[in-house]
């Protein structure tokens, strides 16, 4: 267990398509990956009772940031990980989760009560607007080849 790379998988505001692609990539890679990776945070796979973000070698972050609470959590993730990878279009570019940033006055007027009631941020932000990003995997959903390149680059992280 100690030699396994510590990985976190986090989803913010998005459709979680890259999470789904990741679970499909597991179909053919799970034997290797499970022997090399310890998922310390991954809500898609396991219950997570911890109150705090645990130390990680790599954090994969999917989705855009649309609330102050999300921003705080992202900063905690950054503090606890050696490498932060922004995954998919919403994390890398902010879009399409940020489509309200481009609404006209009429559209903004219509969504205003919701934004205020649930205390949304004024603008939706991409991950790099808030924290340093080490690697990106663009695409909607994420580019599988690029993701595999990054996994292969870091999977023996602890042996390097």
């Amino acid at each position: 267990m100690d030699n396994k790379i510590k990985v976190g998988w986090f989803s913010f505001t998005c459709c979680e398509d890259s999470t789904i692609i990741f679970t499909e990539l597991l179909n053919q890679n799970y034997k290797l990956w499970l022997s090399k990776i310890n998922f310390v945070h991954a809500r898609i796979f396991k219950r997570d009772d911890s109150q705090e973000i645990k130390p990680m070698d790599i954090a994969f972050v999917e989705g855009a940031i649309t609330s102050d609470r999300q921003e705080e959590k992202l900063k905690k993730i950054r503090r606890q990980t050696k490498i932060l990878v922004a995954i998919g279009s919403c994390a890398v570019l902010g879009a399409p989760a940020n489509q309200r940033n481009f609404f006209n006055q009429r559209q903004l007027g219509e969504i205003k009560p919701i934004l205020e009631k649930f205390r949304y941020k004024e603008k939706v932000l991409k991950v790099a607007d808030i924290v340093k990003v080490d690697e990106i995997v663009p695409g909607c959903p994420m580019d599988e080849k690029k993701f595999m390149e990054i996994i292969n680059k870091y999977i023996n992280f602890n042996q390097v």
Binding site: C15, S18, E24, N27, F39, R47, I111, I114, C140, P141
Partner: protein, 445 residues
Amino acid sequence: MHDPNFDLTFNNDNFDINLEEISKIEGAASLSIKIRNKKIEDLRFSISEWKRFYTQAVVGKPIAAVPSLLSRICGTCSNAHLLCAIEAIEKGLSITPSPQTIILRKLLYYGLIIRDHALHLYIFSLPDYFGKNSILDFDEKDPKEHQFLDDAFSLKEIGNQLSIIVGGRSVHAPYPTIGGFLKLPTLDQLKNLLPDLKNGRKIIWRLIDFLKENRWQEKANFPLIFSALKSLDFSFLEGKIYTSAGQIIEEQDLRNHLKAKIIPYSQARGFLFDGQYLMVGALARLNLSKENLHPSTKSTLGDLLSIFPSINFYDNNLAQAIEILHAIDQSIEMIENLKTINPEIPPKITPRKTVGVGVIEAPRGTLYHQFFINENGLVEKAEIIVPTGQNQIVMEKGISQIVERLLKENASKEKIINEVEKFIRAFDPCMSCAAHFLKVKWRQD
């Protein structure tokens, strides 16, 4: 994340449960329960996804762009939103897809049903049956756990490959479009899927056999309506809406029966059906149209189908497993019967002012898209109703039922949390879908 021990003054009569982010479901949901004098004083099941305002963003967009945009509402259900939006636009513009297009759409969809139900059953729910936190914790030295671990990824891959071959990708498929497909699979590519599909029958049977031997019980102790789209071939894509109250409803009339209920603490709205509790999804479909399952599926299942109709919420898991077998059997038959793939090109679209409604059975239940389209082919208004929204109220009611029962049984707080999480997972809720929409009038209803 949640901490069942966060309150310092726990006793059996008064305590709070606060699950901030329920795990192993699609998207973010939370639950808070306040117990006072061994009674539920307050219970709130809420969808905590942050909205992305798709029904607002789609306004002004050309119809050709709408299906692929709306598929981004949800990663796992993306091809359901894609095909539902296509259907709504085609119906609005009186475009009739070719028989080949209909076959390919069904194959694409069976791929979705296989991989999406498998994700839920193996990755999300199966650990509950084994008392494990995660399928990744399954013991490779235990023959049964090892088998299920392998089965999980093998079966998902079969659905994944079927979707990739037909649609170009299993998530946000790029080939399906209004009127047809932008790119077609070859006959060989489809025929090559047959060995794996046939192997998939054996894989899913192991799960069906396990679930029928491990049938958890939580029967609804309140009246509720089951509702689902029903077609002779149980295709998920065609037919009329049938209900357990005996109604038969045309697609375009469904909206008249669904009454939105604003839930102030949730990012999504719930729905009642003609004022009654509503449940949609695999259990509803099996309750209403088990006779339309593929003949091979029915023959394999035999007497097992006699448990439907069922009001046991946990039978939703068994119903999903049965639907995977059906999707495999349908796919095998359709691919075996294919003699050629004709080089069809989607028709040119001539826009006009119209209203289009599409209704399909998404993996988690009935999905409704409605578009008001203007003479330039731009969307003027849209409404989308997703399964998890329809199930939200009955889920909260079911959670109350479970907690009340467990309180009478003097169950521990940890036991209550576990049972409630298991129950929520059995519904297979999809929060990404549920929080897509815009609703402004909080005081309505």
